[in-house]
């Protein structure tokens, strides 16, 4: 089928990434940790100007019980590294089918978010919430999905291997974060993270996000499978991204209330 390979997009949204020329960084190793992290952020969350993906997640708890989530995502960037619009339409589980999220992501203030509850035909605006809490019951956090702004942390380049940059990121403010710092292993060619490990105040790694597979879609390095593990409970969530397509020309005027009630099929399929 027209499934174009798979991306990641952790969950909702973030899927489709930026227009960084993927394999052009050969010239020499970068030395500036902030630049590396900014490029990673752009690659992971801002590919092309817009995009679409189908995301499936499998949540496995510590007892091995699993649940599924499945949703389609449309994304449009207003500015690379800046504001974005997302429309997310759920298909699974059955009890939330046709539930939809509209997110206007802002980098300088709280995001604007709306939730559509189909049973009530209710478009509910949602108040800003803690970014580091479970995204729709998965082990992903909202922030993993929509991206943590690079300016919220100070970045330090620990090591440059043959294939990877290793960056330690420490939050400028400990307010609202549960980690003391985290370590990013970033692929030198693709600028996709291959592994992120979160370290608590005791110096222990308690949470890990791994890129299981990635591919190039229309020239954009794209994560297609991602795993997040809660190392304390033993639970984890797998995320699989498929049907990725970039630069569809999605217009800005579909990111409106009416699209929650009646999703724009033209762009979703």
């Amino acid at each position: 089928m027209k499934t174009l390979s798979k991306t990641w997009l952790a969950a909702v949204a973030a899927a489709i990434l930026l227009s960084t020329p993927t394999l052009s960084a050969e010239a020499g190793d970068l030395k500036d940790a902030s630049e590396i992290v900014n490029r990673t952020n752009n690659t992971q969350y801002y590919a092309a100007n817009d995009g679409r993906a189908l995301v499936r997640m499998k949540i496995v708890d510590s007892k091995g019980r699993s649940q599924r989530r499945q949703f389609a995502v449309l994304r449009r960037d207003l500015k690379d590294g800046g504001d974005q619009n997302y429309l997310v339409v759920f298909d699974q589980p059955a009890d939330v089918r046709n539930t939809a999220f509209l997110v206007k992501k802002h980098t300088n203030k709280d995001d604007d978010r709306w939730l559509y509850l189909p049973g009530l035909d209710l478009v509910k605006r949602i108040a800003a919430s803690d970014e580091r809490t479970s995204f729709v019951g998965t082990h992903f956090f909202y922030e993993d999905i929509s991206g943590r702004h690079p300016a919220e942390d100070t970045h330090e380049l620990l090591e440059t291997t043959d294939t990877e940059y290793v960056v330690k990121s420490t939050p400028k403010s400990s307010k609202g974060v549960e980690f003391a710092h985290y370590t990013l292993r970033i692929n030198k060619k693709t600028f996709l993270p291959s592994k992120i490990e979160y370290v608590n105040a005791q110096g222990k790694v308690y949470r890990r996000i791994e890129t299981v597979s990635s591919s190039s879609v229309q020239g954009h390095a794209t994560i297609t499978r991602l795993k997040v593990s809660d190392l304390e409970s033993g639970g984890y969530t797998l995320s699989d991204v498929s049907n990725v397509q970039y630069d569809l020309g999605i217009p800005d005027d579909i990111f409106v209330e009416g699209s929650l009630r009646n999703p724009p099929q033209k762009w979703l399929r």
């Binding site: 499936r56 035909d121 209710l122 291959s194």
Partner: protein, 544 residues
């Protein structure tokens, strides 16, 4: 016409046998849920088995039982190459190996066979419909049991159950790029009233005409406005029976047969909805839930010969249809809307004629009503603030002197909600109802003339205030939800408390335990009149 759940078809049968049927259906539902849950568990287990088997055959010699089922690198690469091949060939100049080779083969800590499930989905999708011009079909629904016994003594109602029902819901969707069709239908065995109900909640067609026009035609549920369980400018039919007996929140809204048209002009939207035949609320009529009848001065339940309340509905004429309008847009993060309505009061708060002895005694009736209002919603201090106002123009009695018609009112609402702690939300609302021409209502009647109201002693105050508080906490990876919603009126001195615990046992199966607690100093206030209906409930739902 049956006023409760009025527009549904019903088959009457022997009441005792039906109650048995309801109980049997409930038992069946529980069994079905249990077996479904069990089957799901087995299925998962079976899937893991087969995947492991497949992995082994790929890898050659089988791994030892209990060993970590790490996928060999070559198998993983093969998998990736397969997935990426066609795309990269078609869309990218880079060779698949180049990127795939960049991926670190990190250590596997179990659960990697889980990915097989996604590949299975992929195949399932490929078999289904997809792509540009085709129709997509979807089928879903749920089976649900609900039991809600009354927990206070009721002199008015003999029935000890506010609800005892087993419900089957069918959802059908057919979606096309420019059009879609939707069906939502319920059938439920209602042990409390001894009936089987068929209730179509949605049977509608949606058509899109370019980016600027769309239309939904047919039976549908409609909602707008900014209040949380308080509706000022939303005059679409509500089902207050469902609200007070533990049914899911969605049943607070009742469907209507309507035509909805939406026009989008840049950042401004206009919704116009026409309901050709007036659809009232599914109001409380004494049969299932008791209420205060000001004519008799008593709480009226199923023991009363007057139940169910049987009002006179407007004639089914073109001029008796209702029209709803909304103009909305936003300025930055601030959402603004203006609303209008022309139709009838949604509840039978009027009388069909002046008070008179039996042959000419009036019935309850629906007075004409127009509503104009506006709302604002915006982020503030990490939360959301909303303000909404509505003027209820009871235009057949603007003078306020006709006792058979309710007076005009101004209704206002201000609300604020925010997350106090991670996964803990709070919402506060203040609501005000101001009755115009109040002095005319309460003035004693001049000799030989009708008074402003037949029951001034039961009227709410000129200003009726209401405060609501919502607290919601999500726990256990959002599987457990604790929720409390409270209405309190400081001048009516009545309250309605809705505690609720929802637990998603496994994906398709959820249990809800809650209560509807109504208290009031007086029998005639908004919530006080419902106090004999106080109930607790358990609801079990299996979605598919």
């Amino acid at each position: 016409m049956k006023p409760t759940i009025c527009k549904t078809k019903q088959c009457r049968a022997g009441v005792p046998s039906l109650r048995c049927l309801a109980v049997a259906a409930l038992t069946l539902a529980v069994l079905a849920l249990a077996s479904g849950a069990f089957a799901q568990g087995e299925q998962d287990a079976a899937r893991v088995d087969t995947e492991e088997g497949a992995g082994e055959s790929d890898a050659g010699p089988s791994t030892e039982p209990g060993a970590e089922p790490a996928l060999p690198d070559d198998a993983e690469e093969a998998l990736q190459a397969e997935a990426e091949g066609p795309v990269n060939a078609a869309q990218s100049a880079e060779s698949p190996e180049e990127l795939a080779g960049d991926v670190e083969p990190f250590e596997q800590d179990g659960g990697d066979d889980d990915w097989g499930e996604f590949d299975e989905w992929e195949e399932a999708d490929a078999g289904g419909s997809s792509g540009g011009g085709a129709w997509d079909f979807q089928l879903g629904g749920f089976v649900e049991g609900l039991v809600a016994p009354r927990v206070v003594k009721s002199a008015a109602s003999a029935n000890e159950f506010a609800a005892a029902e087993a419900r089957f819901r069918l959802n059908l969707d057919a979606t096309h790029e420019i059009a879609s069709a939707r069906f939502r239908g319920d059938v439920y065995a209602d042990g409390a009233l001894g009936r089987i109900w068929f209730d179509i909640r949605d049977a509608s067609i949606f058509v899109r005409g370019g980016g600027w026009f769309s239309m939904r035609f047919g039976r549908q549920v409609l909602t707008w406005g900014t209040g949380d369980f308080l509706f000022l400018n939303d005059l679409f039919p509500k089902d207050f029976n469902s609200f007070f007996i533990g049914r899911a929140d969605e049943y607070l809204k009742a469907p209507s047969n309507s035509i909805q048209t939406t026009f989008m002009m840049k950042k401004v939207g206009l919704d116009l909805i026409w309901t050709p035949i007036f659809e009232s609320d599914r109001f409380i009529d004494g049969e299932r839930l008791s209420f205060f009848n000001p004519l008799t001065g008593e709480i009226q339940g199923d023991r009363s010969p007057l139940s169910p309340l049987d009002p006179t509905f407007p004639e089914k004429r073109l001029r008796n249809g209702t029209v709803h309008g909304r103009l909305y847009g936003s300025a930055g993060p601030v959402e603004l809307a203006a609303y209008g309505y022309a139709g009838f009061w949604p509840q039978p708060t009027a009388l069909s004629g002046p008070l008179a002895p039996p042959p000419d005694a009036p019935t309850a009736a629906f007075a004409r009503l127009a509503v104009y209002g506006a709302s604002v919603r915006a982020p503030l201090g990490g939360g959301l603030i909303n303000v909404e106002g509505a003027f209820y123009d009871s235009f057949d009695d603007r003078a306020g002197t006709d006792p058979t018609i309710p007076n005009s009112q101004f209704r206002g609402l201000a609300g604020y909600e925010r997350e106090l702690f991670p996964k803990f939300q709070m919402g506060l609302q203040y609501y005000l109802e101001y009755t115009l021409k109040y002095d005319e209502l309460t003035a004693p009647a001049a000799s030989g003339e009708e008074p402003g109201s037949y029951w001034p002693e039961y009227l709410p105050n000129r200003f009726r205030h209401l405060i609501t508080l919502r607290l919601t906490q999500f726990l256990v990876m959002d599987k457990l939800e604790l929720s409390l919603f409270t209405f309190f009126s400081p001048d009516d001195l009545d309250t309605y408390i809705r505690p609720r615990v929802t637990y998603k046992i496994i994906d398709p199966l959820a249990i809800v335990v809650g209560a509807n607690l109504m208290f009031g100093r007086d029998d005639y206030t908004f919530f006080g009149q419902l106090k004999e209906n106080t109930n607790v409930y358990v609801r079990l739902r299996y979605s598919f």
